[in-house]
């Protein structure tokens, strides 16, 4: 009988931030009690077999404040987030079902705007919205609205992602600039006296994943979309799951000037900031050039780069080599990034 290993007395905000605390909750409480094979590495989607027919399925919920921000809104995130989880698990999203938890007092035009945004995002991503559910809770209990989407899809041909297949020497690819979404949200909250010309990067990454896997499918070992917790968290999870080290090269990391500037001012690391339109891929070295070329040629993938590689040591850790040949460890996020003061 699997043991519950989660010992904390209450749930804190940190448990939802996507970093270490979240992992402890999932691995220590949910996995032992709910998953039949809780020793498997946890991926972005589950690939299930129904008498020879393989279906991928995933779910995600969206809690965003403010609802709408430069570059998008919660409606779009809700579609793209699930499409992307399926894409990086090696599957093409076909249909979504949607749950809306709405706060009493929510103005109808606000709801309508999000539903329109969702409809458009679904059409753009080529997914059908097959149905949904609605609940309404009292005023003050839902921050306007919470949305959950569950998506099913067809596994892409000849793509099998598994952290256990990662080897020393594999290359780490990133599809484009990081930090845009998280910083846009932080600034859109209006609590900081900071402005920047930034938009959320929310989009479906499926076209990029398809292009890359078509060119380099057999060499693609692992993919992930670095949402809450950022690239650092995703790569730390990989390093732990495969027992190897990931070494990134600082000057190869694509970061827009405005994101870099905001992070400098706030004492944040772009590697910890959420993204909604990017993905990471680990590719065998003999396929890395083909993978990168395919991405760069695909619209929206022009800024894809090789940002590092997999090494033997230090096992389980993620390192960044700095511009001067020094290096530093990049750890998983603990809780939410809290801007520095002094």
């Amino acid at each position: 009988m699997p043991q519950v290993r989660f010992r904390e007395p209450q749930i804190e905000m940190a448990h939802g931030a996507g970093g270490k605390a979240s992992r402890r909750l999932v691995e220590g409480l949910f996995a032992p009690l709910l998953f039949s094979c809780s020793s498997e590495p946890l991926g972005d989607a589950a690939h299930l077999d129904f008498s020879g027919t393989r279906i991928a399925i995933t779910t995600d919920s969206f809690v965003v404040k403010p609802l709408s921000f430069p570059g998008g809104s919660i409606g779009e995130l809700a579609v793209n987030g699930t499409v992307n989880d399926l894409a990086v698990s090696g599957a093409k999203a076909e249909a979504l079902v949607v749950t809306y938890v709405l706060e009493a007092g929510l103005p109808t035009p606000v709801l309508e705007a999000e539903v329109r945004a969702m409809g458009k995002a679904a059409r753009d991503a080529g997914v059908t919205i097959a149905g949904g559910d609605t609940k309404v809770v009292e005023h003050g209990k839902a921050d306007f609205m919470y949305i959950t989407t569950t998506g099913i899809g067809r596994p892409l041909h000849a793509v099998r992602v598994d952290p256990r297949s990662v080897r020393s020497g594999d290359k780490v690819l990133l599809s484009g600039p990081i930090g845009d979404h998280g910083i846009t949200i932080l600034l859109a909250r209006g609590e900081l006296d900071l402005e920047a010309d930034l938009r959320s990067d929310t989009r479906s990454v499926l076209p990029l994943v398809e292009a890359m896997t078509k060119a380099a499918g057999p060499g693609v070992r692992w993919m992930r979309d670095p949402t809450r917790g950022g690239v650092a968290t995703s790569l730390n999870e990989l390093a732990r799951d495969c027992g190897l080290a990931i070494v990134l090269t600082e000057e190869q990391l694509p970061v827009r000037g405005a994101v870099r500037g905001a992070c400098e001012l706030l004492g944040l690391d772009p590697l910890h900031i959420a993204n909604e339109g990017q993905f990471l891929a680990v590719v065998a070295p003999e396929y890395a050039d083909a993978a990168l070329n395919a991405l760069n040629l695909c619209p929206g993938g022009e800024e894809a780069r090789v940002i590092g590689q997999v090494c033997e040591q230090p096992a389980g850790a993620v390192l960044v080599t700095t511009l001067y040949g020094g290096s530093r460890i990049v750890d998983m996020l603990v809780g939410d990034p809290l801007p520095r003061i002094c």
Binding site: Q313, T322, S327, P339, R340, C342
Partner: protein, 376 residues
């Protein structure tokens, strides 16, 4: 000038690192203390230690205003905020610092009204927009942040904002440095002087370090080039047997300090006769309290605080790490019972804390050379 890019320019950094190697006498072991926690973090973040020869040892100083606060002060502040209709407002840095009953964030999860503010004036605005509540600002920091607290109190008085108070934990840097130099455990050759404190107090207050203690000081900025240049400066002085105060951070630090800031502080604050520092014990004239003319805005005078002294857990060696006697990983609890997620002391969670810097950037680096060589 793009200050960030130019002070991180790899070619110049490499040349400066070479200069350091040239200046360092291979027969000497140098112990240079960087006082300020911000410098500690910059050193780790940019991997600067990897650029220094092995006979230069950087010792981390007590310049972390959150780390040096005894746990009892956190408890006192949180106790005030337990009262109904009180909002606890503090910088983000304070949120995960442990008190005996948990950190401010943990209290927030249990229902306390805890808000992160980015400046004390935000806390005052919070009070003005919540007239039915009382906002208590938990003020921390060295002389860097004391002037903005002072100016906020001046504004609160001028605008008659009565639902606002400050729980003052501002401390001053010079007594901390003096305590380090007086400590029998320490043998130091030179100092990398705090950059941002000096924008307020200037460079004069350090002169006794050169004149009486005969140690060189270079007041430094926070970019990699700043820190390396400061090491060059003190090495040059040591080579010539000199000891003086130099200002490397000239673009920001005025030699005479900021008179307006010092005046604001003098208007609102006075020195406490003594204050307890974690690791350094009771130091006289080392912390600020609010003067009687601002008593109405002094949380300690408006509310009853237990003022209980809380000692650190016995196994924790926060004090020795703060003084620089131990490196973070030499504390018995480091990375075991004490991690950023379950911190025993503030050094592990504060963005100025040396344990946090070490944990986040350094401590799992093993077999580095072969990994890096194969990538680069």
């Amino acid at each position: 000038m793009k200050f960030v890019d130019e002070f991180r320019e790899p070619e110049v950094i490499t040349k400066t690192a070479e200069e350091i190697r040239r200046l360092a006498d291979p027969k000497r072991h140098y112990r240079i203390m960087e006082v300020c926690g911000g410098h500690t973090h910059a050193i780790y973040r940019f991997g600067l230690k990897d650029l220094l020869p092995s006979n230069i040892e950087l010792i981390h100083g007590p310049g972390c205003p959150v780390c040096v606060l005894p746990m009892g002060r956190i408890d006192d502040g949180l106790e005030i905020a337990q009262q109904p209709d009180v909002i606890f407002a503090a910088f983000g840095d304070m949120m995960r610092v442990p008190g005996t009953q948990g950190s401010p964030l943990e209290h927030k999860a249990r229902g306390m009204d805890v808000r992160i503010v980015y400046s004390p004036s935000d806390a005052l605005k919070l009070a003005q927009s919540n007239p039915e509540k009382h906002v208590m600002f938990f003020a921390i920091g060295f002389e860097t942040t004391a002037p903005s607290t002072a100016l906020t109190l001046v504004r609160a008085k001028a605008d008659s904002v009565h639902n606002f108070s400050v729980f003052c934990n501002h401390v001053t840097i010079i007594p901390a440095i003096r305590a380090i130099l007086d400590s029998p455990d320490m043998r130091l050759d030179a100092f990398i002087g705090p950059g941002h404190v000096s924008t307020v107090i200037g460079c004069r207050p350090y002169e006794w370090i050169a004149v009486n203690e005969k140690k060189p000081v270079a007041v430094s900025g926070f970019e990699p080039l700043d820190i390396l240049q400061s090491i060059v400066m003190v090495l040059r002085q040591l080579r010539k047997g000199e000891a003086k105060i130099e200002n490397q951070y000239k673009r920001v630090v005025p030699w005479e300090g900021n008179r307006a800031a010092l005046r604001a502080m003098a208007e609102v604050f006075e020195l406490r006769p003594y204050f307890e520092w974690r690791g350094l014990g009771f130091i006289s004239q080392s912390a600020l309290r609010i003067t009687d003319s601002y008593a109405e805005w002094d949380a300690e005078q408006r509310f009853q605080v237990a003022g209980v002294r809380v000692t650190d857990p016995k196994a924790a060696q926060c004090g020795e790490v703060l003084k620089g006697v131990l490196k973070p990983h030499q504390c018995k609890l480091f990375a075991k019972e004490c991690t950023p997620e379950h911190p025993v002391g503030a050094l592990m969670v504060s963005s100025e804390g040396s344990c946090a810097a070490y944990f986040n950037y350094e401590h799992r680096k093993t077999a580095m050379v072969s990994s890096i060589a194969s990538v680069v």
